[in-house]
């Protein structure tokens, strides 16, 4: 029996078009646009000025607080502008525009990075290095990683879970990374074990990535502290709370964190970034991005410099197909539809999904027939139909009482609703207002 979380979830068509495609290097773009809020928390503070020359990997915006992160220049070049650009949130955000100096930008690329297993830093140095290198969670939430590593005295952590689930349809960035950088990821895991004094690790991988499961099992044959958990394919298993429940049967309390049940979760991409930061002092300036879509000529996985405009990526796979209706930053379940393709790849961009007309169009909204399907699929045990009704009527306080704030916005309810009701749209809207009401009260 494969493990999975017990309550809710859906199984959309996987459509992993690119799982057999090795990660290619995306050419260094002529201009990069580096936003200063690529992570959850306080935006970073710009430390460069117009016309400044910047080196690759140089800090261009420093961490703005505890929950914040450094941002480094992904290329060598000249700062041409401190501009505002619309990012995937739909709002204009501050960003640093750098014109690439073609000669110097391949510095990092030319260095070969042979596997380096020996850990030379102390736990506190490791933490400092992760903070310095601007590592954030690469699974999508972009939570600054160092925050997850600073433990309070009463936190008794006994398990580290490595998230290789990649439950979003279409995306294969983590899958390819696991196949191509397995040794490095394992060293990354050992770095985290050492820094956190954790003895038990489980790598959670969904069963549609059998090759990755087999590879890690082979490599970890003689390592009994690190286990592999093959998981039943079910969305949203990549969500921390669902993953902890699936693997350890521990339930993270409402409004709590995995920390509360003695677990820390890191995405495989993050673990690889930590490996590079610790062993090669390499800041987070590039990541794997899956560029995919059924109508694309050549969907592929790329190593992409942070700040690369999304249109460059789409050009690289053969351009925007004619019948394209939607372009999504992320996967089809949780990704954000973007307004234009000028916006850049950021630390949280795991995929670019190009959706055709017929897939993108929403069907007409019909009456709720009270089938209860949204309740059955909600992994958080909520009643989406009720939350939508409350939000439609402006009853945000009632919605708060009905735990609207615990919604993880996985979209399973909207996905499954036979009457095509925009459940998550209303819930998201209601959450925003409920959050504001909460702040006003405090």
């Amino acid at each position: 029996m494969l493990k999975t979380f017990p309550k809710g979830g859906v199984h959309p068509h996987e459509n992993k078009l690119t799982s057999a495609k090795a990660i290619k290097k995306m050419p260094v773009p002529k201009v990069v646009y580096v936003p200063i809020s690529q992570h959850i928390g306080i935006p970073s503070i710009i430390v460069v000025e117009r016309k400044n020359k910047v080196a690759i990997g140089q800090v261009i915006a420093k961490s703005g607080g505890y929950v914040s992160s450094n941002i480094h220049s992904p290329v060598a070049g000249t700062v041409t502008k401190l501009d505002k650009i619309i990012d995937s949130s739909g709002y204009k955000k501050q960003c640093i525009v750098i014109r690439t100096d073609a000669k110097n930008s391949s510095n990092f690329d030319e260095i070969k990075f042979p596997l380096k297993e020996e850990i030379l830093l102390t736990p506190s140095e490791i933490l400092q290095q992760i903070t310095k290198c601007g590592i954030v969670g690469l699974g999508g939430a972009t939570f600054p990683s160092h925050v997850k590593l600073i433990l309070k005295e009463d936190n008794k952590i006994d398990f580290l879970i490595i998230n290789g689930v990649e439950c979003e349809p279409y995306l294969t960035a983590d899958h390819r990374l696991m196949l191509e950088k397995a040794d490095e990821i394992i060293v990354g895991i050992k770095i985290l074990m050492f820094a956190l004094h954790i003895k038990k690790v489980v790598i959670g991988i969904e069963n549609n990535k059998k090759d990755a499961i087999a590879l890690f099992k082979k490599l970890l044959k003689n390592e009994d502290r690190i286990k592999i958990a093959a998981l039943k394919v079910k969305y949203p298993q990549g969500s921390e709370k669902q993953l902890v429940k699936a693997i350890l049967k521990r339930e993270v309390p409402k409004n709590g964190l995995p920390l509360d049940v003695g677990v820390i979760v890191h995405n495989v991409g993050t673990v690889f970034a930590i490996y590079e930061a610790i062993q090669y002092n390499k800041p987070l300036i590039e990541r794997v991005v899956t560029v995919t879509g059924k109508k694309l000529k050549n969907p592929s996985n790329y190593w992409v410099k942070i700040g690369t405009p999304i249109k460059d990526l789409i050009e690289e796979v053969g351009g925007v197909p004619e019948e394209t209706r939607k372009i999504v930053n992320g996967g089809p379940m949780m990704g954000k539809a973007i307004k234009n393709t000028d916006m850049p790849v950021t630390k949280g961009t795991s995929g670019i999904l190009v959706i055709s007309k017929e897939e993108a169009s929403r069907k007409e909204v019909e009456n709720c027939i009270r089938c209860g399907e949204c309740i059955f699929v909600c992994p958080m045990g909520l009643e989406p139909f009720l939350l939508m009704n409350l939000c439609e009527r402006g009853m945000y306080k009632r919605a708060s009482i009905e735990d609207i704030m615990t919604c993880i916005e996985c979209g399973s309810c909207s996905y499954v609703c036979p009457s095509n009701r925009p459940l998550l749209d209303y819930i998201r809207f209601g959450k925003n207002i409920a959050r504001k009401l909460e702040t006003v009260k405090n």
Binding site: E251, V252, K254, G256, T324, K339, R362, L382, E409, G411
Partner: protein
């Protein structure tokens, strides 16, 4: 900006291929075996009653939406079709046509649209129609053409009672179950449908077949039918163990009357049943309980319709108090 035609919307950007229409037509499909059995047993009478009920339900829905509410007409969504079929299934074959039309008007006009249309009705429309007819025209509603004989004499006055009716009458006159059992069809006949009763409740086998199809297609879950039938079995079983001469055995209670039809097709109506599995169990136990009380101690021989309608009224309350368990609830958080 190189793609002027792209749109933005909130996630998720894909949708399952489940639609309300598909669900409705699955229910219609599931009702076909039972309909074929009734066609075989009652002949053209079954066809007439069913077509009149379906046609008038669709017509009333059309008229109300088009001329009264002036909204979009949605008769193709399948819900009025189901109401029509289920209403017909709850009527005796040979039931007067004008009464069927009145029943359809009550079902669609009063039970469905006065509450706001599809999804807003509290009570199962077909059952409201049936109960209205039962109370208004008790004689016609309990004039059952006997099955096999009737194939040749469609609108003949040859009538018999339902097994439950025979039992109730017999017990009233002080007969014992042993004496009564000679007058009612055998269990096998009841399973196959060689018995008396409403159009659609004849063959338990055909109904169970359709019900299983619905469960397999994930239109309904097993909770309501299984729990409701189990409740009836357990309670009638207890009485039967106490005094087998005064109370019929559980098998008769299950196979006769509307228990199976009610359990698989009426109580499971998505709109009027609870939305959580816990709620469904409570709901089903309630229906089973009320059914047995009416059958054993009430004035009517049969109580499934009443039981379902009574429990329908409790659904909002059940939904309020039997919520799904919130993830992480009641586990103490160290942070907050």
């Amino acid at each position: 900006m190189n793609t002027p035609s792209i749109i933005i919307s909130g996630s998720p950007h894909i949708h399952s291929d489940r639609t309300s229409k598909k669900i409705m037509y699955d229910v219609v499909l599931a009702l076909i075996p039972a309909f074929l059995v009734s066609l075989y047993i009652f002949g053209i009478g079954a066809l007439i009653v069913t077509s009149v009920a379906v046609f008038s339900c669709l017509l009333f829905e059309y008229l109300i939406q088009k001329y009264l509410l002036k909204t979009e007409v949605t008769i193709s969504d399948g819900s009025a079709l189901i109401t029509g079929i289920l209403l017909a299934f709850n009527l005796p074959s040979g039931f007067p046509i004008w009464m069927i039309i009145v029943g359809s008007l009550v079902a669609i006009g009063i039970a469905k649209f006065s509450f706001g249309g599809l999804g807003f009705n509290i009570f199962n429309p077909a059952l409201v129609g049936r109960v209205f007819l039962l109370i208004s025209f008790p004689v016609q509603m309990t004039t059952w053409p006997t099955s096999i004989d009737n194939q040749t004499t469609i609108f003949d006055a040859v009538t018999g009672a339902t097994p439950l009716g025979i039992i109730k009458e017999g017990l009233m006159f002080g007969e014992t179950m042993t004496e009564i059992s000679t007058k009612i069809p055998s269990t096998l006949d009841m399973l196959l449908g060689i018995t008396g009763g409403s159009l659609g409740e004849m063959s338990s086998l055909a109904l169970i077949f359709g019900g299983l199809f619905l469960i397999l297609r994930k239109v309904v879950t097993w909770h309501i039918p299984v729990v409701m039938i189990l409740t009836i079995v357990v309670i009638t079983g207890i009485f039967w163990r106490i005094d087998p001469q005064q109370y019929a055995n559980p098998l008769i209670h299950i196979l006769s009357g509307g228990a199976i039809l009610g359990a698989f097709f009426m109580a499971t109506d998505l709109v009027t049943s609870p939305m959580t599995k816990k709620g469904m169990v409570i709901f089903a136990v309630g229906i089973g309980l009320i059914t047995v009380v009416i059958r054993l101690f009430g004035a009517y021989p049969e109580g499934v319709s009443f039981a379902i309608i009574i429990m329908n009224a409790f659904v909002p309350l059940i939904n309020k108090y039997f919520k799904p368990r919130r993830f992480g609830a009641k586990i103490k958080s160290k942070i907050i």
